[in-house]
Amino acid sequence: MAETIRTIRARYEQWSGIVANQLFLLPIAAVFLLLFVIPLGQSFFYSLTDFNGYSRKMNFVGAKNYFRAFTDSAMTASLGFTFLYAIATTLIVTMLAIPLAVMLDRKFFGRDFVRAVFFFPAIPSIAVLGLVWSFILSPLGSGAINTVLQLVNLGPVPWLADSALAQLSTILVSVWAQTGWHAILYLAYIQSIPADLYEAATIDGASPRQQFFRITLPLLVPAMTVSQVLLLTGGLKVFDLPFTLTKGGPGYATTTMTQAIIQRGLGQAKFGEASALAVVFMLFVLVIVVFQIVVARRLERQFQ
C-alpha cells in the first residue's frame, strides 16, 4: 500500500514537473498559432478564392489569382522592381562595404569619428530618412541637389519624376543608408583575423594586393554569408524606403511587392489577388534564401 502511494506520488511529481516545464512554451505556441499558422493558412485559402474581405459570399476560382500575379502589369512591375532593388543593393553594398571595412581597419587620424559617421544612417528610421531624401532629391528647382546643380548651371534633374532615375535614386539612398552598417560587420571579422598571417605573408614577399585577395577576402566568406542574406532578404521585403521616397511612383516604377500586396488587399479589397501575390512572394523569399545559404556553405567549405 505504502509502495503504491509512493509510486503514485513519484509519478505525479514527474508529470507535474513536465507540465510546469511545458507551460513555458505556451506563450510562444500562442504566438506561433495566432500570428503564423492561422493567417498563413488563410492566405493560402484566400489565394484560391475571389474573397473581398467583406461579403460572406466567396467563390473558388482555382489558380486564376496566380495567373494574374504574373500577367497584371502593376504586379509584374512590382516584381521587377523588387528584384532589381534587392540584387542591386546587395551587390553595390557588398562591393563598397568590404574595401571600406579594410580602410576603417587602418590607423588614421579621426578614425572613430569616421566609423561613427558611416554607421549612423543605420540608426534612425529608414522611413524618416526616405522622407528627408525626398526633399533633398525634390525634382523642383528648390530641391537641395538641384539648387546646388543650378550654381554650376546644370539641371534641374527630375530625380524622382523619371522612372529610371527614381529607381536609381531609391537604390542609391539605400546604399547610402546601409553600407556603413555592413562595413562595421565586415570590420569585426577583419579584426579577428590573426595578425601573424599578414606578417608571414609580408616576409614571403606578398604584396598588399595579394594579401587582400589571398588572406582577407577568403576569410571574409562567413561574413559575406551573413551580410548578403540580410541584404537580400531585406531587399525583397523592402517597403519603407521606396514608399516614403517616391510612394511607388512615377507610375509603378518603384512600387515594391509589399506595397502591391497592401494596395490590392487593403486598398482595393481584392483579398484573393493580394493573397496570391503574398504566397508567391513568400515562395520567392524561401527559395532565394535557401539557395543562398547552400551556395554560401559550399563556398565556406571550399575556403577552409
Partner: protein, 275 residues
C-alpha cells in the same frame, strides 16, 4: 619606411574624412535648415543661417502633437520589447530544460515560421484584428510586434546553452521550483543577451513604419515615425518646419545610439541580428 607609412596614414585620413563628410551631409542639411527661414532654405539649402532663428521649433511644437506621439511610441516599444523578451526567454528555457521529440519538432516549426515574411500574413492579420476591434489601437500594434518573440527565442536559446547546467541542477536539489529557477537563476545569467536582443528589438519597433502605417489611422494614436510621415503634407511648402520635426524626432534615437553603441556593435557581430 616610417615616413612612407606616415604619409599613407595622412592620405588615408584625408580621403576617409572627405568621404565621411559626403555621407554625413544629409544630416548637416537637416540640422542647418531648422535654423533658417523658408526663404533662406530655398536660396541656399546648404548655407549657414544668417542669424539664430528658432521660430521653426516653436511652430512645430505648437502645431504638431509630438508629446502624444512620443508617449505612444514609448508605450508601444516598452511593452512590446518586454513582452518579446519574456515570451522568447520562457520558450528558450522550456526547450532547453526538456528535450523531448515534441519539443524538437516544435523548434523546427518555429524556425520555419521565422522564415515567413510579415507581408504574407499581413492581410489575414488585419482582418483578425478588425474582428476583435483592435485595428487603430496601440495594443493592436503590440500584438503584431509580439511576432518578433520567435526571433528573440532563437538568439536567447543560443546563449542559454552556455549557462552551466550544474547551477540549475543544484538549485533544483535545493528545492527551487521550475519557475523559481527561470526567474531567479536563468534570467540573471542571460542578462547580456537580453540587453543585446532588447536593443535590437527596441530599434525595430521604435523605427518601424509599415505596421503603424497599415494599422493606425487616427492622429491621436500615431507613433513618431508615422507622425513625420503625415507631417509631409502638413508642411509641404514649409520645408524648414519639416526638417525641424525630423530633428526633434531624431534626438531620442541619437541619445539611444550613444548610450547603447557598445551593445549594438556587439549584437551585430554575434551573428548578424536584425531580421
Amino acid at each position: 619606411m616610417n615616413a612612407v607609412k606616415r604619409r599613407g596614414a595622412i592620405l588615408t585620413s584625408i580621403v576617409m574624412l572627405a568621404l565621411a563628410v559626403v555621407v554625413g551631409l544629409p544630416f548637416y542639411y537637416i540640422v542647418v535648415n531648422t535654423l533658417k527661414t523658408q526663404r533662406e532654405t530655398a536660396i541656399a539649402p546648404l548655407g549657414l543661417p544668417s542669424s539664430l532663428y528658432l521660430d521653426n521649433y516653436l511652430t512645430v511644437f505648437q502645431t504638431v502633437p509630438i508629446l502624444q506621439s512620443f508617449l505612444n511610441t514609448l508605450y508601444v516599444t516598452a511593452i512590446s520589447v518586454v513582452l518579446m523578451l519574456l515570451i522568447g526567454s520562457m520558450a528558450a528555457y522550456g526547450m532547453i530544460m526538456r528535450k523531448s521529440h515534441f519539443n524538437r519538432w516544435f523548434g523546427i516549426a518555429l524556425l520555419l515560421a521565422f522564415m515567413v515574411p510579415f507581408q504574407t500574413t499581413l492581410i489575414p492579420l488585419y482582418q483578425a484584428l478588425a474582428g476583435i476591434h483592435m485595428v487603430d489601437t496601440l495594443n493592436g500594434l503590440i500584438a503584431m510586434y509580439s511576432a518578433g518573440s520567435i526571433f528573440c527565442y532563437f538568439l536567447i536559446q543560443g546563449y542559454m546553452r552556455t549557462v552551466p547546467y550544474e547551477i540549475i541542477e543544484a538549485a533544483r536539489i535545493d528545492g527551487c521550483s521550475t519557475f523559481g529557477i527561470y526567474w531567479r537563476i536563468v534570467l540573471p545569467l542571460i542578462r547580456p543577451i537580453l540587453i543585446t536582443v532588447g536593443v535590437f528589438q527596441t530599434m525595430w519597433v521604435w523605427n518601424d513604419f509599415i505596421t503603424p502605417n497599415v494599422f493606425i489611422s487616427s492622429s491621436g494614436k500615431q507613433t513618431l515615425v508615422l507622425q513625420v510621415y503625415t507631417a509631409v503634407s502638413q508642411f509641404s511648402v514649409n520645408w524648414p518646419a519639416f526638417m525641424t520635426l525630423t530633428v526633434i524626432v531624431l534626438v531620442p534615437v541619437v541619445i539611444f545610439f550613444i548610450a547603447m553603441q557598445k551593445y549594438i556593435v556587439k549584437g551585430l557581430v554575434s551573428g548578424g541580428v536584425k531580421a
